[in-house]
């Protein structure tokens, strides 16, 4: 008897967590998406004169990174999480097998690549936002 009640408790706990995640996602994902969307034109504007605006561009990228990291925790689907992970991983360089190093300096080409990934991420999030309206 107590075994059944334990099973039900666990089931309810997992359900409650799912609902909590859904609500926090519904509230926060559109906000984060909006902030990410804003970063793109700001950085792109400065890309013309990359050498002189390096500091600004890297700071904006780090902002984007922390936004994406916080976003990752609020997502429920694995495919979306993977996209966030891939973006965050662009800020690391592989040194040895499992040893990663943080990366904060980028070249011109890498910055364009980051911008591209950022834009693709925003497209995915915008679609997700539409889905969330129906949940």
């Amino acid at each position: 008897m107590s075994f059944i009640s334990l099973a039900i408790s666990i089931f309810l706990f997992l359900e409650a967590r799912k609902i909590y995640k859904l609500f926090i996602g519904k509230a926060r994902i559109p906000e984060i998406n909006k902030s990410l969307k804003k970063i793109y034109p700001d950085v792109s504007e400065k890309m013309n004169d990359f050498e002189n605006n390096k500091e600004y561009i890297f700071t904006e990228f780090l902002n984007a990174k922390s936004l994406v990291e916080s976003l990752e925790k609020k997502l429920t689907e694995d495919s979306h999480k993977k996209k966030c992970r891939n973006f965050v991983l662009m800020f690391t360089t592989k040194k040895y097998f499992f040893y990663y190093r943080k990366k904060i300096e980028f070249t011109d080409k890498e910055s364009w690549l980051l911008l591209r990934e950022l834009s693709a991420l925003v497209v995915t999030l915008s679609e997700l936002e539409k889905d969330l309206k129906w949940k």
Binding site: Y40, P41, S44, N48, S119, A120, V122, V123, S126, E127
Partner: protein, 117 residues
């Protein structure tokens, strides 16, 4: 590569080329298969040649109906591939890169840089 990545990649390249003025954007008339049989309005249609392929970029203004009679006006930026005066593929996602490309392209067409020479 999925469709979004492909187009984001292309748009990214176009932004860089527009920045360096390697490609020139021109004002054009929307093709018939876009503007006929619809109430939508196209405030600005730009096109360019990239690797002997016509690419277009335009604004689409349309009525967004809240219910049967009430509506508000909305605007979308769309990227398209043109073949023989037909729009064959449209990419109309909510993408910041696309908005940025439109901004850069219209800036180039406006000739704002020439005013400072």
């Amino acid at each position: 590569m999925d469709t979004v990545s492909k187009f984001e990649n292309l748009i990214n390249i176009l932004i860089q080329q527009t920045n360096s003025n390697t490609i020139r954007w021109n004002i054009g008339i929307p093709p018939k298969n876009l503007s006929y049989g619809t109430d939508d309005f196209f405030p600005l249609f730009l096109y360019t040649e990239y690797q002997s392929q016509s690419l277009g970029l335009y604004l689409r203004r349309y009525r967004y109906y809240h219910d049967e009679s009430e509506y508000s006006w909305c605007e979308d930026t769309v990227f398209c591939i043109i073949k023989d005066d037909y729009i064959v593929y449209k990419y109309e996602k909510n993408s910041p890169a696309l908005l940025d490309l439109f901004d850069k392209a219209s800036q180039q067409v406006s000739g704002i840089d020439n005013l400072f020479k």
